[in-house]
Symmetry: C2
Subunit: 307 residues, 2 copies
């Protein structure tokens, strides 16, 4: 797909899908979805981002245009003969629990990520939620990776734990939700989970708790940040991906990772995720401005400030 | 019961019980429980506290001694012929959900709270979780109440909503958990719940989310504070009561209520609740020092600070 001439600061690998999403008040079909569009779109507000993924021959050009309009480099997105990954879900009335109605892997089943030359020296990497062997396969193509984050899901903990543990040794930051942290470690208390996870390789562990926020653990300490309390929740799909994407975009722009920068990054991650869920697919991120981000990040800082 | 010679800063009304508590690793019987001991004990670290409640003739002197050792004025605690309120529960392995095994009201069924003369001018009041008509009955005996907080539970929303709405008109701060906020307002989004609750009388609404922390809503803004992440959770019973008690004790000591003082108060409330759940009954609060509180409140402030 589309090529940018400048090098990227951060590249991300993940799924690209065509989604159907049902909520109590809406039934939307054929939406651009998957972890990669959400993560890269959120990151694009902070840094130059490259995308690594695969779509089928049925992937609409309009999707490519809308996605590319974020200024994302799409040369790492392969177009292959066959069907694009398709996924459908229905949210419960509380918009938290969801039922997956359809998962058709299509070309995603045989995905072998190839890292474009222009990405190889990029220092920041987000290994989005794909099979852990593939995460390792694409990471091995990098020559410049300095800070690698990994997002995972319960499926890989279930069926590919040895591979997941192997790639974790190469990872600086692990992001996962509370249920996954408990599943991966066999512990309940999130502090205990984090201690166990920090022994598997990462220097930083972020445990995401959805609408309750996230916890950042490192050897140096703990940071807890609530989710920005959204008033007009439309579609929670991709919130975790926008979160991880914004986080890595912010760090890539800062060009460094220390406790203070990470804490700031988590604020922006929460803000981008909150905007993301106010629309279906990338719809609300498409209309987002830097001013919107500034206003809401200031608001979130006031919301959590004791003073 | 015991009389102090000095006036109190804050008085609190609530239940006093003898509890049996089962957890995965322990089975403890005949513990001092009920909302009032937890709330007053937590408050006692900050202010001079008076207690209003009732016990039966079977209430052990040792309980009275241990409770009074916090320096709490117990002259508002009536001793009546009959059995003390008894309650038993079993916690699930996750220590969040619990099953109530026994509720025997005893003398609590005919409780008519009487406010001692020495409490009548106290400016701060916590109407703990008892039947709303009784909350109003005891509040009407006060002549000096300037800042009244109310804690409630799902039972009263179910069976005494008109009375609850009546007393809410007299209340400055309402504390309740997320489920109760949704039940009372019929809304799901917590911001919507808070808007509705603020129209019922209180200037401040605190929505408690247990291990996920609490949200403070007022016309002036929103403050979100996580729970202090406890490592050695032994017994969650009374956490919400310690929380409310510490909050009111802190405010009573400050002698004023503004946004900044309230935010500080929520930090200390979270800290006291976190200590409380590290032991059964009042056991861990009994060993608590001002230094412990200082250390943990500083730690919690660091945990939530972006800088």
């Amino acid at each position: 797909m589309k090529t940018r001439n400048s090098a990227v600061d951060v590249w991300m690998v993940g799924s690209i899908g065509i989604d159907d999403v049902q909520t109590r008040t809406a039934n939307r079909k054929n939406l651009l979805g998957g972890s990669l569009p959400f993560a890269t779109a959120a990151a694009s507000f902070f840094a130059r981002v490259g995308a690594v993924g695969v779509v089928g021959s049925d992937f609409p050009c309009s999707f490519e245009r809308r996605w590319g309009a974020f200024g994302i480099d799409l040369q790492g997105v392969q177009r292959q003969a066959g069907a694009t990954f398709r996924w459908a879900c229905r949210y419960d009335d509380n918009m938290i629990e969801r039922t997956t109605l359809k998962t058709e892997l299509g070309v995603f089943a045989d995905f072998k990520p190839v890292l474009p030359e222009a990405y190889k020296k990029a220092p920041f990497v987000l290994l989005g939620n794909i099979q852990p062997d593939l995460q390792l396969h694409v990471l091995n193509q990098s020559v410049g990776a300095k800070f690698v984050a990994l997002d995972t899901m319960n499926l890989w903990i279930d069926i590919a734990k040895p591979s997941l543990l192997k790639v974790l040794k190469r990872v600086d930051l692990l992001a996962l939700n509370d249920g996954e942290a408990r599943q991966l470690t066999g512990r309940w208390n999130l502090r205990d989970c984090a201690s166990a996870l920090l022994k598997l390789g990462p220097s930083y562990v972020i445990i995401k708790k959805g609408e309750h926020g996230a916890l950042l653990f490192s050897k140096k300490g703990l940071f807890i940040v609530p989710a920005y309390p959204v008033e007009r929740l439309k579609d929670p799909t991709g919130a975790g991906d926008s979160y991880a994407g914004a986080l890595m975009g912010y760090l890539a722009n800062a060009g460094k990772v220390d406790e203070k920068t990470l804490r700031e990054a988590l604020i922006y991650a929460s803000v981008l995720a909150s905007f993301g869920v106010e629309g279906f697919s990338l719809e609300s991120l498409e209309h987002l401005t830097q001013a919107d981000i500034r206003v809401r990040s200031s608001e979130l800082k006031r919301i959590i400030s004791v003073k």
